[in-house]
């Protein structure tokens, strides 16, 4: 009994150390150190917090994307949904609705976008990747139809720059609403994915959908719920983006779906489903932020930045697999 106990304890400790999240975490530390030594300007918490806000919006959607990827699907329409929700809210405001009413309308739009995806994917069994490649154009297209080449802005003062509202300050460094919202959301999603029954169902849908169905999980409902959630959070993120930019345009966050996917995968979620980590995604979001801001402020040109981003992504996954290199190329 004693030996068994001892083993399981060692098991626990080594389980902690063998977690996939260590890799992005290590890379995060490394990039922090490198960036800080490359550039004096980087060593400024106030600047860091200020310039990272924009990624927190994408980071929020990376959290829902983690759930979706864990369930074996993908949602490439996230940035388009952000854009579409913000557009509807802005249109409603300019049509004479008070901003207080326009905001819920925007969130509802996000939900609606999620519902469209969810229904097509869960109830018609269409593959999520191609569905969301399609709806990505549809949602952004809606925005383009309504606002075309213009920007919609001129919102009430209280709505502008919500991200700058300081929740608390450390010296000159401002912890704004968006940053804290992201952290809180990450915590909530951590609980959802790793501590609740719903989280287990999500993982099961990703690992073996047939088995989940036979275990009396309503897998269609789970999928729909995930896309609704994704739509809703995208709606929030879209409105926050609009508040930060003071306006909305049809090309808001164009092409950033790949960024969101990268954050999730860096965080250790498996694209084939059944495995995902909110802690991992959280760290990966920070890593991407530090990488981007660190490199930009160090005047590294965007071509070299791209190259480094690619390299980091590869490293993050090669490092934990180095064992395989040593082991030789046997199995499978």
């Amino acid at each position: 009994m004693k030996g068994l106990d001892g083993r399981s304890k060692r098991g626990k400790l080594s389980a902690v150390f063998s977690r996939r999240e260590w890799v992005p975490f290590g890379l995060l530390l490394a990039t922090l150190i490198v960036s800080a030594s490359l550039s004096e300007s980087f060593r400024d918490l106030a600047y860091l917090l200020r310039t990272t806000t924009r990624y927190m919006e994408l980071g929020m959607t990376a959290l829902t994307m983690t759930l979706i990827v864990s369930a074996g699907m993908i949602d490439l329409s996230v940035p388009a949904t952000m854009c579409c929700s913000a557009t509807v809210a802005a249109l409603a405001f300019h049509a004479g609705l008070p901003m207080e009413a326009a905001i819920p309308l925007g969130l509802l739009t996000g939900l609606a976008c999620g519902a469209v995806n969810g229904l097509l994917i869960a109830y018609l069994n269409l593959p999520s990747m191609i569905v969301t490649i399609g709806t990505m154009s549809v949602f952004r297209g809606i925005s383009q139809i309504f606002i075309g080449d213009k920007s919609l802005g001129k919102f009430p003062e209280w709505f502008n720059s919500i991200e700058k509202i300081p929740v608390f300050m450390i010296g000159k460094a401002r912890f704004g609403v968006t940053i804290l919202a992201f952290i809180l959301l990450a915590f909530a999603f951590y609980l959802v994915l790793h501590k609740t029954g719903f989280g287990r169902k999500v993982l099961a849908v990703g690992a073996n959908e047939q088995a989940a169905i036979f275990s009396s999980v309503n897998t269609r409902r789970v999928k729909l719920q995930l896309f609704l959630l994704s739509g809703f959070v995208s709606g929030i993120a879209g409105l926050l983006t609009m508040s930060r930019l003071l306006l909305v345009r049809y090309d808001m966050n164009l092409n950033s779906e790949i960024d969101v996917v990268a954050m999730v995968l860096l965080g250790g979620a498996e694209i084939s489903g059944g495995n995902g980590s909110i802690i991992g995604t959280f760290i990966a979001v920070l890593l991407v932020i530090v990488l981007k801001t660190g490199l930009i402020v160090a005047n590294v040109t965007s071509d070299a930045q791209m190259f480094m981003m690619g390299l980091i992504l590869l490293l993050s996954i090669i490092i934990p697999n180095i064992g395989k290199l040593v082991q030789g190329f046997r199995d499978r």
Binding site: R140, G141, I142
Partner: protein, 343 residues
Amino acid sequence: MKEARRFVTQNVKEFVTLAFILLIYLVAGVLRPEVLSGGRMAGVVNSVLLWTPLNLTMALGMMMVVIMRGIDLSIGSNVALSAMVAGILFRDHGASLWQGIVVAVAVGAACGMINGFLIAYLRIPPIIVTLGTMNAYRGLTFIISQGKQVTGYELPPGTTDFVAEGVRLGGVLIPWLVVISLLLALVFYLILKYTHFGREVYAVGSNREAAYLRGINCKKTEFLVFTIVGALCGITAMMSASRFGYINPSNTGKGLEFVVISATIIGGVSVNGGKGTVVGVLLGCLLLGTVNTMIANVGIPGTVQLFTYGLIIVTALLVDRIVLSLDSKRRMAQQVAGKEALR
């Protein structure tokens, strides 16, 4: 007659796509009757024909990758990098067109090998590897080109002949680009259907564990597939130079991956691996080519194009699903009837 009917029922999926393409022509004809008039039809067809080859060539490779349950997001960047290396040779070292093609294919294949090595031998998920190399190859393209593009007059003479010249079939000119890509499609059709390698691609995608235990060298197969995709990137790179007349570090191959993945999946290749045919992919490319050119030809206003494009993709998926499920119901009923008859 009976033969024909059996042919249709056995290839429902392909015929649905074909029918959808015709539907687009029909809708276009109703919206703008003049689009389908004699003179303009040839122009439309020519546009579709010119849109297709680059995407078809890439889709052949993407199809093999997707059949193996993988994905390759790096193709656009790979195309840019191989085109740029060849372009620099053209511009600064006076390389001939054929030398350029060889170099582009070699560079493309080398990039594909890097992907293949990381994916097959280190067992890193394809999406992560290619997401990484997508950035890395594009960054490298910028770095070696120093951000400058290679413009038309710096390309060797004859580069654009592949677009302007070709085989005349009736009144329609089939540019060499199209001929080349169709030949490639034929080659891949034969490979996938009649060679061990081809069938093993399906086997590995269908059940990797089983394939390994059956003695199929999964790693080698996977590595080869990514290398082939890389070589196709090299070919596409030269096609792109020929069609657009310049090589630009940021424009060349941009967004190619999304279009090609769409074409592949619309063409019936299953994201769950193991399924897909060359004919389906060819039709998928034709469908997207038709959509893209029709949107311009019908004269849909700029601001509505994106929406229309997305809507057509989603509709195509829906129609496909509905027809296929009706078809499987029909088949089942037939089977039952057959069984009853046996009794």
